[in-house]
């Protein structure tokens, strides 16, 4: 069974068609990219999947389950985590809390447990803590566990955001322009990080990215859209040679 199945997905804003008859089928453990010119509708596709927007038409199936009408936190509970085009961490809480809170859907204790500090509560909080520390350790963020995100360098914030998404234990990880605003050496680090995640977790990663270096070195499959419509879909090599893609998106780098 495929992990994510999108059929005929369309989303309109007033008269504007942001996503038009979008289809994709993602299996387990893949590394895929979604690219296209600015305003092509890439972020909108992600927003539709995570339940932030409801589709105008079409269906989104996650592990065979239609996500229609689900609220975003319910979709996340099904195993979809994401990062945002502009970083959206909770800036006034330290990194550790950021990562704990993203496990809200599987807290496993009630309000009463919380008031009474029952055994179950203590046990669950410990488990949540353990997962958080494990991730911080693995992603080399241990030193900043008690820092506020807004005081961290941009590159580190990006890593924290990815760590937060991973604490959801997702089977589908959506990354929206993870390399934007990173300098050249940080981009290298990011590529390594994504690869490491891909190698160590049973997760399908789907990313939007404008930096071809990142896309080409990571992804096995690339989907290109323009004006909400798919214009190409294939391996990195195919895409790089595709005339429509070059004309609409890649261009040439003579300055």
């Amino acid at each position: 069974m495929s992990l994510l199945e999108i059929n005929g997905l369309t989303r309109r804003f007033g008269g504007l068609i942001a996503v038009n008859d979008f289809n994709i089928d993602l299996g387990e453990h893949e590394l895929v990219a979604l690219i296209g010119p600015n305003g092509a509708g890439k972020t909108t596709v992600f927003n539709l999947i995570s339940g932030f927007y409801q589709p105008s038409e079409g269906s989104i199936k996650l592990k065979g389950k239609d996500t229609k009408g689900l609220r975003p936190h319910q979709v996340t509970a099904l195993g979809v985590a994401r990062t945002f085009q502009g970083i959206r961490l909770w800036g006034e809480m330290h990194v550790l809390d950021n990562i704990r809170i993203a496990q809200h859907y599987r807290l496993g204790y009630s309000l009463l447990d919380c008031f009474l500090r029952t055994k179950n509560y203590v046990h669950r909080e410990k488990a949540i803590d353990a997962i958080a520390w494990e991730l911080l350790e693995a992603m080399d963020l241990k030193d900043v566990a008690y820092e506020l995100p807004r005081n961290l360098p941009y590159g580190v914030q990006r890593r924290v955001e990815i760590a937060r998404a991973m604490s959801v234990k997702p089977s589908l990880l959506l990354l929206d322009e993870p390399a934007a605003g990173l300098n050249s050496s940080d981009v290298e680090g990011l590529i390594k990080l994504v690869r490491w995640i891909y190698d160590n977790f049973p997760v399908t990663i789907w990313m939007i990215e404008h930096q071809m270096k990142v896309v080409m070195s990571l992804c096995t499959r690339i989907k290109v859209i323009d004006f909400g419509t798919t214009i190409a879909d294939g391996s990195p090599d195919e895409i790089q040679k595709n005339h429509a893609v070059i004309k609409a998106y890649l261009g040439d780098d003579t300055i």
Binding site: P37, N38, E177, G181, L182, N183, S185, E188, Y249
Partner: protein
């Protein structure tokens, strides 16, 4: 060539934290100069201090001087820097006015212009020609634009403000490759028409290819400078900032 901007031993602080420890550099008329450096090196801070935006969000200059055309900027209020000295800044994070439409955003940028309606109309045309996307979205509230579209708008605003000295903070962020190259070509064209540019760019490779000269910033200090060719060839710089 005349020196347009001269920064002398600039020290600035956020609260009690010193972010720049005394940097000096200059930009001559008609040049393109770039500042490169790692995340958090203080590049944006430098531009914000030049614009003299008020704290707390912006830093506070504690020492040194900033001269523009020989005149110190330290006592010039920020809006005057834009309206009287014809400088413009495209800030980090775009900072467009999301509750205004695309058109209103551009119009607001002409607030301090004095060269008449016609000239402004010509510039509207220029912006819309450069970013046809914006023309399509003229009446849309700008906060619903896509990330890249917002970046175009931020640049459009700078062009509309009719500046002779343009400071850009990561203008390529979030732009698709095609558009990014287009943008740099347009900037080059503007430069040939006389616009002086101070550029910050994460993609140091690209920035150095585009600029005449560059400065390398590291944790609040300038560690290297030279012409683009020199920097591109410098093995240290290459290793640290150009991604090997």
């Amino acid at each position: 060539m005349k020196t347009l901007l001269e920064v002398k031993n600039l020290k600035v602080r956020y609260g009690n934290i010193e972010a720049l420890h005394g940097i000096s550099f200059d930009v001559k008329e008609g040049e393109i100069v770039t500042l490169i450096g790692a995340n958090g090196a203080g590049k944006s801070t430098t531009l914000l201090s030049i614009c003299r935006l008020p704290p707390p969000e912006a830093p506070r200059v504690v020492e040194g001087d900033i001269l523009f055309n020989g005149q110190s900027l330290l006592n010039v209020p920020p809006h005057k820097i834009v309206s009287d000295l014809d400088m413009a800044l495209v800030p980090e994070g775009r900072r467009i006015f999301g509750n205004l439409t695309v058109e209103e955003n551009l119009k607001l940028a002409t607030y301090a212009r004095k060269d008449g309606h016609e000239a402004a109309v010509r510039d509207y045309e220029r912006v819309y020609a450069l970013f046809p996307r914006l023309a399509e979205r003229r009446k849309q509230r700008s906060e619903s634009l896509s990330g890249g579209e917002q970046q175009m708008l931020a640049l459009g605003r700078a062009i509309m403000s009719k500046c002779s000295f343009l400071m850009l903070d990561e203008p390529s962020m979030g732009l698709a490759p095609l558009l990014m190259y287009d943008m740099f070509r347009t900037l080059k064209e503007l430069n040939r028409e006389g616009l002086t540019i101070l550029l910050i760019e994460q993609n140091a490779n690209l920035a150095l290819r585009f600029a005449h000269r560059g400065y390398v910033l590291d944790t609040g200090e300038i560690v290297a400078h030279g012409t683009s060719e020199q920097l591109l060839a410098d093995p240290e710089v290459k290793k640290a900032y150009l991604g090997g």
